[in-house]
Symmetry: C2
Subunit: 356 residues, 2 copies
Amino acid sequence: MTTMKEISALAGVSVSTVSLVLNNRDSGRVNTQTAEHIRALAHQLGYKPNQMARSLRTSRTHILGFLSDEVATTPYAGAMISGAQDAASQYGYVIMTVSTDNEAQERHEIAALERYGVDGFFLAKMSNRHSRVPENLSEYPVVLVNSTYDYSSAKKTSIAGVPRYTGIAPDEKRIGYDATKRLIDAGCTRIAYIGCHEPMIAETLRFEGYQDALKDARIEYDSNLCIQVGNNTPALQAVHSLIDKHHPDGFFCFNDARAWYVYDCAARLGQEIGRDIHIVGVDNHRVLAETLSPQLTTIELPHYEMGYWAACKLISMIEEKDTQDFEIPDTTAPLPSLDNDGDVFIQCALIEKESV
Amino acid sequence: MTTMKEISALAGVSVSTVSLVLNNRDSGRVNTQTAEHIRALAHQLGYKPNQMARSLRTSRTHILGFLSDEVATTPYAGAMISGAQDAASQYGYVIMTVSTDNEAQERHEIAALERYGVDGFFLAKMSNRHSRVPENLSEYPVVLVNSTYDYSSAKKTSIAGVPRYTGIAPDEKRIGYDATKRLIDAGCTRIAYIGCHEPMIAETLRFEGYQDALKDARIEYDSNLCIQVGNNTPALQAVHSLIDKHHPDGFFCFNDARAWYVYDCAARLGQEIGRDIHIVGVDNHRVLAETLSPQLTTIELPHYEMGYWAACKLISMIEEKDTQDFEIPDTTAPLPSLDNDGDVFIQCALIEKESV
DNA sequence: CTGTTAGCGCCTTCAG
DNA sequence: CTGAAGGCGCTAACAG
């Protein structure tokens, strides 16, 4: 590792001069010739600033701590981390990931990240949930990812009018609405909802969105067409008996996995998906997208995008930078403005395939 | 952030004494009374060592760089990162994750990690592949995860008899063997192989394992029962026509996703899985495990375990520590000894469910 | 048993 | 336009 010292020796100038030049603070302060010489040397020796030393001096590490649960077990962790990572990388930051499946571990890992002097924290959840924020994070910039702040845990909900914590999560209600609307537009009149029997924000809101869409289309809500199911055989049987008894022509499924139950029933009954019955899922889960035949029309959960947005937001908080300075890339789901604080909801894209 | 300086002031001793005590190097060097006092103060003030400062001094950061491809798009990234993370955390290390989907990005991210002075690198692949190791990593301890070293890219394959790079990957051949054996034990005599049409290490070796198992059971290999398929409708049709023409009673599927095609055909044909036909997959993919009915018997790919092993190995290389000092946890797939170098293969567990 | 000294690599006044 | 000096927080010789 070449240091400024070595460069300064070779260039015959002092370390301070090298520092000025290499931090681009030399305009009008250092002779252009020497500046160029220094830059050339640095490049040629493959100089890399030592972040440790710099951080020690500036008390800014450009490290972002990514706390998240269930990293090991969900397929979504990668996308969220990757989105955060890409944005971070673009603005000169780096990410330390840490998984926190219980409170003891959480404390331990937060302490580890604090030792490294991270500039801020992501708090990511693998399923959309309200989250409390650990006490000892109150001094840091924090952004919730796939999660919103649990105000019931709050002492102050806002500071000087600005919401206490900002978080980004999918617009679940709209997911339900858009999916159902798509089925209505395809001509379905008896639309089933295959929900999830665990209590979740997503379950409640998607179901509400489903009902709203029916109402707007003046289709009467029929509770017989709605079931909440778990996994495997019991779920499959429930779907089977729903179909037997009530003959829906469209299915809005809580997620892509649950859409599989409909596929299986259709195969048994000899129904053709996309013609006899129509299906919309949620997730755009890669494995299912690559597998199911006919391909599943689904609403994509923008995990990558949420990670990306959260990183931009977090960096803007750390640097107190104008949010205009961030380039928001075009993604399948359009990213919200960074000016938002508090609960931010991201619209999810409907991916047209063959099941509608 | 309280510093050693502050503690030393309060305790009325010098910073060095505090340093000694808080690093547990005080036995027989510092008065037990003062040592206790210092510890008490540190605890009470919530002292946290500043890793940056420490690293600057020791040139050890206890940061591990995790380079990996396709983090965003595969469901396995989380498990590998999480395994590495858990082991790292146990030995006082922390992980910086970085995704590298092209060479330019890879160089950029490696440079970023080098600035932070990472102590070593993971090189993770989302599908088992031979990997070259970037030139500029040659000075670092490196462990490949879900990957083995591409010796064709090497100048020296070993140094003083020790293989150049060590990597851990699933024992693919054994996967094919064990899966097929399981079907044979269940009484299947016409066992189909539903493979993958992309050229991959896993495809080649699992197929070999399949053939070996047949041979050991004196079942004649029939190429009519073996197909290599891609995704979606074409794959489904290929499986369908295989069943139509050759009536297999057992299916070894390259992965769980491909097992779905068999499920779909069985549903159409009214065959009962686990009785009329038997299926073994590979992946133990969570979404499919939670969904398919009857549940799929499958061989689990030990991503978490590979991450865990790789972290232990990497740390042992960094610290030149005796491999005996590492506690290897009990996992579904038994972890290999850390004494191995070069290509290390991990045996994968067969998860008994209902499809056999 | 404890303190002094020096320095890791870098940045930032402040003098020249 | 440039250099010297000081210090971020911590560790490690070496002296006392």
